[in-house]
Amino acid sequence: MSYLADVGALARKDLLLELRARDTLPAMLLFVVSALVVFHFVLPAGSSDLAATGLLWVALLFTALLGLSRAFTAEREQGVIDGLVLAPSDRSAIWLGKALSVLAFLALAEVIALPAFALFFHHVDGTLIAGVGLADLGIAAVGTLLAAIAAASRARELLLPLLFLPLAIPIIVGGVGASVADEPARYIGLLGLYDALFAIICWASFEYVVTE
């Protein structure tokens, strides 16, 4: 129970920081809507729904990357990560609390992005929403760990995309497959498997990322 209390306290702190500073979520919202508007004008008239769905995933992926690039800014710039690492709580709680806040920001961005997509392109069905939800879990799990690694580096803006995009390929394969395939179940399964596998790996390895 105390582990979950630590996770809750850390996630709540991140949401409070965002409420105060408002430096991540508004940027994510503006970016995803702008990207969809640009894609709306880029796609030639009469283009297939498949192409539009693919572009939705591009927009969501880069929106997530934008959010992840800010995930550990306060901890690194203000040195707070040392204070959190020294606390007696399990260090994986730092990862889980941060991943939950990243997940919340992604979900909020998509609450705006998916209706905007429906407005500009085509309707959004249940399998697309399920795919996006499962993809969010994987993005939050893997992205939070990689954001912590990148935040420790001077070239963090460069490093995060280089680390994250290759590991996000299975998420995109699963997400696009779940959105457009006739039988989306196997892609949903792939996303679920990816989420479970990488959540365990990230949870277990976070301690080694935040200590020298």
């Binding site: 306060a74 040195g79 707070v80 204070g83 020294l86 200590t211 020298e212």
Partner: protein
């Protein structure tokens, strides 16, 4: 609590510390001195368990929940208030009667009236006072302090002197400072880095 033998720390090709021998027991007060760049901060980070040595032996016979650490940075979120920062640390350290203890520390360090102000609006001295509140919050058995007087005004210096005098009987200390004369009377051992 801390035992180091032939301790060495490198960052890449740069050697920061070499051949450090030290031992800190429950009643000890180790004063670490040395010029800028001599490795004081690195040594304190090693003692706190925030970094691992490149070579040598380092035994930390204390759980990290019993360590209080004051660094160059106050280790607080600038967008949170003093109360919110200390509440977060109090939860993570499972401090009993957290609110009362936070209130008492804020009162003692003269931050009570500014408890609802964001740390971003604090002066350097107020941030240092908040950092000290954070480090003392969970009644640590080992206090690792890096330039604890940094940024404090005359009143803050007196507050910290009083606090160190009180805590000296129930905690061990490792303190890095440029002003060793201020802490000379507490010290049981000294380590001069070059």
């Amino acid at each position: 609590m801390i035992r180091a033998r032939a301790l060495e720390k490198r960052y890449g090709d740069k050697r920061i510390l070499r051949g450090i021998e030290l031992e800190v027991g429950p009643d000890d007060f180790l004063l670490v001195t040395g010029p800028n760049g001599s490795g004081k901060t690195t040594l304190l980070r090693l003692c706190a368990g925030l970094a691992a040595p490149t070579r040598g032996e380092l035994e930390l016979d204390i759980s990290r929940g019993r360590v209080g650490f004051v660094a160059h940075e106050p280790l607080v979120y600038r967008e949170l208030t003093a109360l919110e920062n200390l509440d977060l640390y109090g939860r993570l350290y499972r401090v009993p009667e957290r609110r009362e203890r936070i209130g008492m520390l804020l009162e003692r360090f003269g931050l009570w009236d500014a408890r609802h102000a964001r740390a971003a609006s604090y002066s350097r001295g107020m941030l240092q006072r908040l950092a000290l509140c954070r480090a003392f919050l969970h009644e640590p058995s080992l206090l690792i302090l890096d330039e604890p007087y940094s940024g404090l005004d005359a009143e803050g210096v007196l507050l910290l002197d009083r606090e160190l005098t009180e805590r000296r009987v129930r905690a061990a200390f490792v303190v890095a400072t440029h002003e060793p004369e201020r802490l000379q009377h507490f010290a049981t051992a000294k380590l001069a880095l070059t």
